[in-house]
Symmetry: C2
Subunit: 256 residues, 2 copies
């Protein structure tokens, strides 16, 4: 893991890094020393590690709970090269939209293929992050990722016992239910009631598939990209419940 | 409205009252002067105005946001006399359980009849509460009630424009969907994924029926009475969002 730059703004340090050619970013409190819980963010399809929503979420988690927060570019996204397969995917989307065909199943298949490449990258990133003094190897790890982020995150959480709580959502059961049935950690699951890419019943079936004893579904009206602005705050409280010890949680959230 | 007793514990004043024979309770900050948002709590079937869950919730809302909080006994509940109809309902439940029959539809019909009596009582209670100096007539009003509390609360919210945000749940669409379609205020809706009284599809259909632009479904595993302990905190934040002005919300929740 090689750090490229560091900027600090309003109490939050943002460091860009690369790890075996994968570009990433790490947010921490500006004065962070010693280990702390880590939350990793997996962006959605067509987005990247520093998309505005991810940056705002990372800053909220750092200032709200003192977490370390990290994101990397998914294969074919952000600062990473596009393969022929990535280019054909974009053409496939355009063709299907021009023909008035549904694009949800096509995206789901492509994302499932991306996840096969992304999960080992995320595991290597986790190894490297836990070697940093300001993260440490002993703290709990949370995962947040919806849409493509969940297609990657569900198998990542199954493969990776270090992840102890996860926010998933905006994904359907077709390619994920079998894997979800092996997830037992606490899950907060986001569903958009009028999602044009994921049919409502498919999202509900994926929520149903998780084997977790604690899982909570948050469904809101609107399309795929219309998740309301109060959900990031809810996810912060979810991670505070599961990644902080009781004393820490009360004190840190008071200051949030 | 006649006050019968006042006790103060840990910064929260609890005053018992009666209004035209209806017993109620009002919780406020111990030092409350001047108007403030009001949240009214409608208890579930077989419970009463001071059931432990209601008292804990009221104290949390008072200490968390400085709200006034009130509850009354529903017809045939708590300190109120039982009618012949109430007695027959209890027998009807026992008979159906002994025969292995589902009791959900029977309870739903009984609760719908109770709601016809309860809504005018709640409106009169709201009138009286808003005459108090520590509540006032100008503040917003929130409603919280699940199960029987929603069977009463959905028509109450439709009849009563003073209610500007509501938490409902643990109820099905059969007797309520038509009324829910006239609800336009923000709603947080609780659903238990394995509810033995309300079939999952019936609860989802009721959530779907609300006409509110902002409505958010929180579904959790478990039976009717198993709503997890983190939901009251979520409802506090829902009411803070909708009943407090921006400045108040941030400041008060910091201290919560």
């Amino acid at each position: 893991m090689r750090f490229i730059s560091e900027t600090t703004f309003d109490g939050v340090s943002e460091r860009l890094f690369t790890l075996d050619g994968i570009p990433g970013v790490l947010w921490t409190p500006a004065d962070a020393t010693g280990g702390r819980p880590l939350v990793v963010l997996a962006h959605g399809g067509g987005q990247h590690k520093r998309a505005p929503g991810l940056v705002a979420r990372a800053r909220r988690y750092v200032t709200g709970c003192g977490f370390a927060v990290a994101a990397i570019d998914a294969p074919g996204h952000g600062d990473r090269p596009r393969t022929g397969q990535d280019e054909r995917f974009g053409e496939g989307i355009r063709e299907r939209m021009a023909a008035g065909e549904p694009i949800g199943p096509y995206i789901a298949r492509h994302n499932a293929a991306l996840a096969v490449r992304a999960v080992p990258e995320w595991r290597a990133t986790l190894d490297a992050l836990q070697h940093l003094d300001c993260v440490g190897a002993d703290g709990p790890v949370g995962f947040w990722g919806v849409s493509l982020g969940s297609v990657i995150g569900v198998p990542f959480a199954v493969a990776e016992p270090r992840i102890t709580a996860a926010v998933f959502g905006l994904a359907g059961h077709e390619t994920l239910a079998g894997t979800a049935a092996r997830v037992t950690i606490p899950v907060e699951f986001l569903l958009q009631w009028d999602d044009e890419l994921v049919p409502r019943d498919s999202g509900l079936a994926l929520f149903d598939a998780f084997a977790s004893r604690e899982k909570t579904l948050h469904a809101n009206p609107g399309r795929h990209a219309d998740v309301p602005a109060f959900e990031p705050d809810s996810s912060l409280r979810f991670f505070a419940r599961h990644l902080l010890r009781g004393d820490d949680a009360a004190g840190r959230l008071q200051r949030a």
